[in-house]
């Protein structure tokens, strides 16, 4: 990882989208989308249902192929990265977590080490340490021995978050990764991400429905609507009534929280 503070230069580009159009058979979801993500950014991706947020995450992680345009991760074309290489660069917490077999939570977290392991290798001390750190950071150590099929939705999300942290990648993509968690766990996870972002230079791109959660932690926001980029910039510049009313088509009020530089949004009835 680059020592971000060491130089005053602009940090390296880790994700580059160049005029990306993609979607599914007979349906284009993202239209001509371009933006850059630099190392150490904390980006919120927002927009109404059907705006293409999840498709963007699937495109960035190589699941949905691009129809035109290109995506580069750490300077390499995404399409040419091997699955395992990609998984060492980028961890993803997907929206729907469908776990069918009764694995123990700890075993699910262990799977996060897969891209780092050789075929016949036993777990190394680094693996164990990464797993322990991930369990600690997500407050899931007490779930370790329980079955993933028997824990609640929010607990499941924390376990999958732990798995992604155990993957120890420089980039983390989140798709509604905390939607089922209670408030304090949600904040706990985001505080951990904030710390990893500031201290280790972890790049976070998070799809969020909760504008106010995004406003607390993200430093840059990207608004999507109908598969197109509506606004992209620092929170100060894009989180305002004009943009929000255009994106969500409902009257809003944006307020500064006293004593902080954070903003919160109230949607008006």
């Amino acid at each position: 990882m680059l020592p971000v503070a060491a130089s005053q230069e602009v940090p390296a580009t880790v994700i580059r989208l160049d005029r990306v159009t993609c979607g599914y058979a007979g349906q284009t979801v993202l239209k001509d989308l371009s933006f850059l993500v630099r190392r150490g950014e904390f980006i919120g991706v927002l927009g109404p249902n059907g705006a293409g947020k999840s498709t963007l995450m699937l495109a960035l992680s190589g699941i949905v192929p691009v129809q035109s345009g290109s995506i580069e991760i750490e300077g390499k074309p995404l399409a040419r990265l091997k699955a395992r290489e990609r998984a060492r660069l980028m961890a993803v917490v997907a929206q729907d977590i469908d776990l069918r077999f009764p694995f123990r939570c700890e075993e699910v977290v262990r799977m996060g080490r897969y891209p780092h392991q050789k075929r016949w290798q036993m777990e190394s001390p680094e693996d164990e340490a990464a797993i322990r750190r991930a369990l600690g950071a997500t407050d899931t150590a007490m779930l370790a021995k329980r079955l993933i099929t028997a824990v609640s939705g929010g607990e499941k999300q924390r376990v999958v978050m732990a798995r992604s942290l155990a993957q120890e990648t420089p980039i983390l993509l989140l798709d509604e990764a905390t939607s089922a968690m209670d408030i304090h766990r949600k904040l706990l996870i985001f505080r951990v991400l904030d710390r990893l972002n500031r201290e280790d230079g972890l790049t976070v791109v998070a799809v969020l429905h909760d504008v106010n959660l995004a406003a607390l932690f993200c430093r840059r926001m990207i608004f999507l609507k109908n598969g197109e980029l509506v606004a992209d910039g620092a929170v100060d510049t894009v989180l305002n009534a004009d943009v929000l009313e255009h994106v969500y088509e409902t009257p809003v009020m944006v307020r500064e929280i006293e004593g902080t530089e954070k903003r919160q949004v109230v949607f008006l009835p």
């Binding site: 992680s61 799977m111 007490m142």
Partner: protein, 367 residues
């Protein structure tokens, strides 16, 4: 561990007791050794059952004769032939066939994320039986390829054809659905069974031969058959054991598996190929034995948990034991030496267990 036992749901508790049990290294080794011993004892007992009566003492002396040549002194050659070349061969073959079918079932369930998948419900067994029947009808049954019989290869071709058909039929908009896949499997299976009956009739086989082929039988099989199947099972099994970690991750679903760095398309292709090879080898000698591949993976998963590194050895042993016991029942239940198809016995044993899963563990089956 925090929290009392009270706040853990009952189902989780039973499963956890087992997984904890197998998680402890010392106890775990003891359990595996005990299970292996159980299989040897079952094989020993099964060797004593049959119309030709021999004492277990004689069988024991014959069994240890490769290590202690004096022990078999004075035993009649006919007895030796029956114990070693007929009964022991059949017991070993039954074990191999059961292990292969259970292995294939575990892989199909894991790869297709479908608790109802097994060589039979996917039509793979019937496809293999069709391939083998066609080869026999065309007189290719005795075909040799560098010393190994080609019959399993014909069965393999049939198995892959059936799997491909089922896959094409079971897909809706490029996605595989659990129910449509099994529905397609049943259609392909029924269609190919009809063709098997027709081919066998053209070959002037009796109705009973056809029934024994469609419901599975190990009647009259010898070491030749066991040796014929074994390389394919070993090849398929080795191919699958390489991918146990990927199998675990695949059970999270395609998207998450890709996110974790598994090349899903490639891994799935090789696993399906290996499982179909094991199935084809088993079916080529035994015909279609149902229920083993369906029930054994569930049974084993309840005991050792879902991790394939443990689950696959457990299914191999359990599947082998189940068919060994079923075959012994099939050949000894009826008076005057008549045999039942072994598929009849596996279905009678396996059916109630599956009913239990349906009634009490719907959630586990994800239905």
């Amino acid at each position: 561990m925090k929290g009392g036992r009270e706040d853990i749901p009952a189902m989780e508790r039973t499963v956890r007791r087992h997984t904890v049990l197998s998680g402890n290294c010392g106890i775990s080794v003891l359990c595996w050794a005990g299970f292996a011993l159980l299989i040897v004892v079952a094989a020993f007992l099964a060797s004593g059952i049959g119309s030709f009566e021999t004492s277990y003492r004689t069988i024991f002396r014959l069994w240890i004769s490769p290590f202690d040549s004096d022990s078999a002194a004075g035993i009649d050659d006919t007895v030796r032939y029956i114990v070693i070349n007929v009964r022991l061969a059949r017991v070993c073959l039954a074990f191999i066939v059961g292990a292969a079918l259970a292995l294939a079932g575990t892989v199909y369930q894991g790869v297709l994320l479908n608790p109802l998948a097994d060589p039979f419900t996917l039509g793979v067994s019937t496809g293999a039986a069709f391939g083998a029947s066609l080869a026999i009808l065309l007189g290719l049954g005795g075909m040799q390829l560098s010393g190994i019989s080609g019959l399993p290869l014909a069965a393999f071709a049939g198995a892959m054809l059936a799997l491909y058909l089922v896959y094409l039929l079971g897909r809706i908009d490029g996605r595989i659905h659990a129910t449509t896949l099994v529905l397609a499997g049943i259609i392909v299976s029924t269609f190919l069974s009809a063709w098997i009956s027709l081919l066998k009739s053209l070959n002037e086989d009796s109705v009973s031969t056809i029934v024994f082929w469609i419901m599975g039988s190990l009647s009259g099989k010898s070491w030749t058959h066991a040796v014929l199947v074994l390389p394919y099972l070993v090849a398929g099994g080795a191919g699958i054991l390489i991918f146990t970690r990927e199998l675990d991750i695949l059970s999270l679903g395609d998207i998450q598996a890709q996110h974790l760095g598994v090349n899903v398309q490639r891994v799935r292709f090789w696993l399906l190929l290996a499982a179909s090879l094991a199935t084809a080898a088993a079916v080529a000698v035994s015909g279609i034995i149902g229920f083993v591949g369906l029930v054994v993976p569930h049974l084993a998963r309840l005991v050792v948990g879902p991790r394939h590194g443990r689950l696959i050895p457990a299914t191999l042993l359990t599947g082998g034991l189940l068919v060994l016991v079923s075959d012994t029942i099939a050949r000894s239940l009826l008076p005057n030496g008549e045999e039942l198809p072994v598929g009849v016995v596996t279905a009678i044993l396996g059916g109630p267990f599956f009913c239990y899963l349906l009634l009490h563990r719907k959630k586990y089956l994800q239905l």
